[in-house]
């Protein structure tokens, strides 16, 4: 027994040393992969983007980068294509997110009582937002196809004039918004549904006893209680809408007549088609700045609501 104890004494000491070492350093070891990934995929590209934004970057690797200061940012003021893309992005974001919010909230209020029991319906509603954006875009491209698309086939059979859904200057942005609303309204709907499910019952009972109408209850109780959820839903959707790319890339390519060119598509064109990564970095930083300002504003609103 003693012999056996002696035999294991040395490894035990080593084990304790290891234990002490790991106690001291384990947290760093556990954090290391995250830090490395963050540095490689977020911090380094961000620093590189700042650096590129103040340089003229030639596609020729033998030519040095030229420091241009704020020239790339100044170009934003005179670049007509950037201004068109900015305007289209704002229009898309405001209209699409507003419709998604109103539809999502409306549906949640209407179906709140029933849907809690219908898990199947919740699953079905989640399908659009679980689909890859490219698959959604291709599906809608087929639906909108002017000659063979199902939408125009229905229009034709009903004797209505067929439309160039993605090709008409007056309809193209609307068509993109419809596809986005189809995909993302369920997201708002489910968030609102979760919010409604967590509402306290007592204030409503008290309001009902005091004779408050349904509208009054909705306006003075439901909306204030839901404010944090609404803020989060809108924040996430606005941030995502500002990055719209897939639908536009597949459905319209930014056309017709630049009516659907959005900032992400323009950044992609400048960086990869026109081989001007310096200017693309400047536009990206502008979008980042706008997103940070909007997020901060939303966060403040959210805290106020709390």
């Amino acid at each position: 027994m003693l012999k056996s104890d002696k035999g294991t004494a040395a490894p035990l000491r080593l084990g304790r040393g290891m234990e002490q070492w790991s106690e001291r350093h384990l947290r760093y070891l556990m954090l290391a992969p995250t830090v490395v990934i963050l540095l490689a995929l977020t911090i380094f590209p961000s620093i590189y983007m700042f650096y590129a934004a103040v340089h003229r970057v030639s596609p020729n690797p033998d030519l040095p980068w030229t420091f241009v200061g704020v020239d790339n940012f100044a170009r934003l003021l005179t670049d007509g294509q950037f201004q068109v893309a900015l305007r289209n992005t704002v229009v898309f974001t405001v209209v699409a997110v507003s419709i998604e919010f109103l539809l999502g909230l409306g549906l949640a209020l209407l179906l709140d009582k029933f849907i809690r029991r219908l898990t199947f319906l919740k699953t079905v509603l989640m399908i659009p937002m679980m689909l890859p954006p490219i698959a959604v875009a291709i599906t809608w491209k087929l639906i909108y196809e002017p000659q063979f698309g199902v939408l125009n086939e229905i229009m034709f059979r009903l004797g209505l004039p067929i439309q160039a859904w993605a090709g008409d200057v007056n309809l193209a942005m609307f068509s993109i918004i419809v596809a986005d609303v189809w995909q993302w309204t369920p997201f708002i709907f489910l968030l609102m549904l979760a919010g409604l499910a967590s509402l306290p019952v007592e204030p409503y009972e008290a309001a009902a006893l005091d004779g408050a109408s349904s509208w009054r209850q909705f306006w003075d109780l439901t909306i204030p209680f839901l404010k944090p959820v609404i803020a989060i839903a809108l924040l996430l959707r606005v941030m995502d809408a500002l990055r719209l790319f897939d639908l536009v890339f597949i459905l319209t390519g930014g056309g017709p007549a630049d009516r659907t060119k959005v900032l992400s598509l323009y950044i992609y064109q400048v960086a990869y088609r026109f081989a001007d990564p310096g200017y693309a970095a400047a536009i990206s930083l502008f979008v980042l700045f706008v997103t940070i300002v909007l997020s901060t504003w939303f966060m403040k609103r959210m805290r106020l609501a709390e």
């Binding site: 030639s58 596609p59 020729n60 690797p61 033998d62 294509q81 196809e145 002017p146 000659q147 063979f148 034709f156 067929i162 439309q163 160039a164 859904w165 993605a166 090709g167 008409d168 200057v169 193209a172 459905l251 319209t252 390519g253 930014g254 056309g255 017709p256 007549a257 630049d258 009516r259 064109q269 990869y272 088609r273 026109f274 081989a275």
Partner: protein
């Protein structure tokens, strides 16, 4: 134990992913579609024949340019060969991404590519055009042709569409009689590359050009340009609604489904039109050179060419493969796989021309010989984008045709710095 095993597997998988291209002796970047499929098949044959490891990376059209430009700018050497659309050649060559092939030809004991290649196919592989050293070899002999339903055109009183006026006359009648389900003409009106590609042959047919001879001046907004634009707008009016967003697939589908009577198109669509499983128009579509305007018609050349990336670590192996893949035998095999050839001997091979699916070869050879390259400029993608926006606006009717020309002139002047 399990954790250790997982870690070892993860490390091994990462190492495999990183060095996948390093395993191959040659890595080739090719586009999706028949052009890339053809070269991929050839690469597999080469690997079997020579015992060389050939890796092909296939990407959609626009991504081939992006990946090639990125590999060139970073000197990554990840690709040894790139299969390029010919308008990209100035960008790749003038930014130092492509290898000058002169020394490789000398080492092989030849002056350059042999005379069996069509002269226009070789001209685009030199940079500057037809004068500079070879920076690539032609592989797929694309040039636009005019596709039309001869029976329908005959019904409309046009036996052969020799001029754009003939096309318009027939197309107008067919669209009027089509009851919103059949159209006399269809084209790629999508913003950017599509609309520019389908406008350029009409532009050239009226004697217009984007630049003057010495490329010191932009010459879009000219009386010739206005004539071409007038015809383009007239053709738009007899085309299907929604043509503003059409690309090659929509145009090809309309022709194959028999809902449009004519279009400008690329020869690789012939295989689709003559395939009963994909087309209602088998044997019914005729092929002709681009119709004339006030000047003889001229096709836009759109060859796929193979170049060696300057950062490649396997340049000699890449050159050997390119010479093999563009040999008469291999170009013939490539033709049988559905890619138009670049050699006269294959175009005139009686074994091929007697087959129904190659009946367009005499017209295509004529079209290539009468073709015009897109303006050769390292900033072509940016020029095409600027021109494409204005053309798209004109097609969509948001600006007048003369405004589109004026705006295009200004936009291309700004991109090129030529004022």
């Amino acid at each position: 134990m399990v954790r250790k095993l997982c870690l070892a597997l993860a490390v091994a998988a990462s190492a495999l992913a990183i060095s996948a291209s390093a395993w191959a002796d040659i890595t080739i970047l090719v586009p999706s579609g028949s052009e890339g499929d053809g070269l991929r098949a050839a690469a597999a044959d080469y690997a079997k024949l020579k015992g060389t490891k050939v890796e092909t990376v296939q990407a959609p059209y626009a991504n081939v340019f992006e990946q090639g430009a990125n590999a060139g700018a970073t000197k990554s050497g990840v690709f040894d060969i790139i299969l390029m659309d010919d308008p990209w050649i100035p960008f790749f060559a003038e930014n130092g991404h492509l290898e000058d092939l002169t020394s490789y030809f000398k080492k092989a004991g030849v002056e350059g590519p042999d005379n069996d290649f069509l002269s226009k196919s070789l001209a685009i592989c030199r940079n500057p055009y037809n004068e500079g050293p070879y920076v690539c070899l032609p592989y797929v002999g694309n040039a636009q042709m005019f596709f039309y339903d001869a029976a329908k055109f005959k019904e409309a009183g046009v036996d052969a569409p020799n001029t754009w006026d003939d096309v318009l006359k027939a197309a107008k009648m067919l669209t009027e009689q089509g009851g919103r389900r059949y159209f006399g003409y269809v084209f790629r009106g999508g913003q950017g590359n599509p609309v520019v590609a389908d406008f350029m042959p009409i532009f050239w047919s009226y004697g217009a050009n984007m630049f003057n001879e010495g490329r010191t001046k932009v010459t879009i907004d000219t009386p010739e340009g206005a004539e071409a634009m007038k015809m383009f707008m007239a053709l738009r009016d007899v085309s299907p609604k929604g043509v503003e967003s059409y690309n090659a697939n929509e145009v090809g589908t309309a022709m194959a489904a028999g809902t449009a009577a004519s279009s400008i198109n690329w020869p690789n669509w012939v295989a689709t039109f003559e395939d009963p499983s994909q087309s209602k128009m088998v044997g019914k579509i005729s092929y002709s050179p681009i119709p004339a305007g006030t000047k003889p018609g001229s096709s836009e050349i759109g060859h796929w060419t193979m170049g060696i990336m300057a950062a490649s670590k396997n340049k000699q192996e890449a050159f050997d493969f390119m010479m093999w893949a563009t040999s008469p035998q291999q170009i013939r095999i490539s033709a049988e796989r559905g890619n138009p050839p670049v050699r006269a001997s294959v175009f005139t091979d009686p074994e091929l021309t007697k087959q129904e699916k190659f009946r367009h070869y005499p017209v295509l050879m004529e079209a290539i010989e009468a073709s015009t390259p897109r303006p050769r400029h390292p900033k072509w993608p940016e020029i095409e984008n600027a021109f494409g926006i204005e053309l798209s606006k004109a097609v969509a009717g948001t600006i007048k045709p003369d405004e589109a020309l004026k705006n295009s002139q200004a936009a291309v002047e700004e991109v090129t710095g030529l004022k």
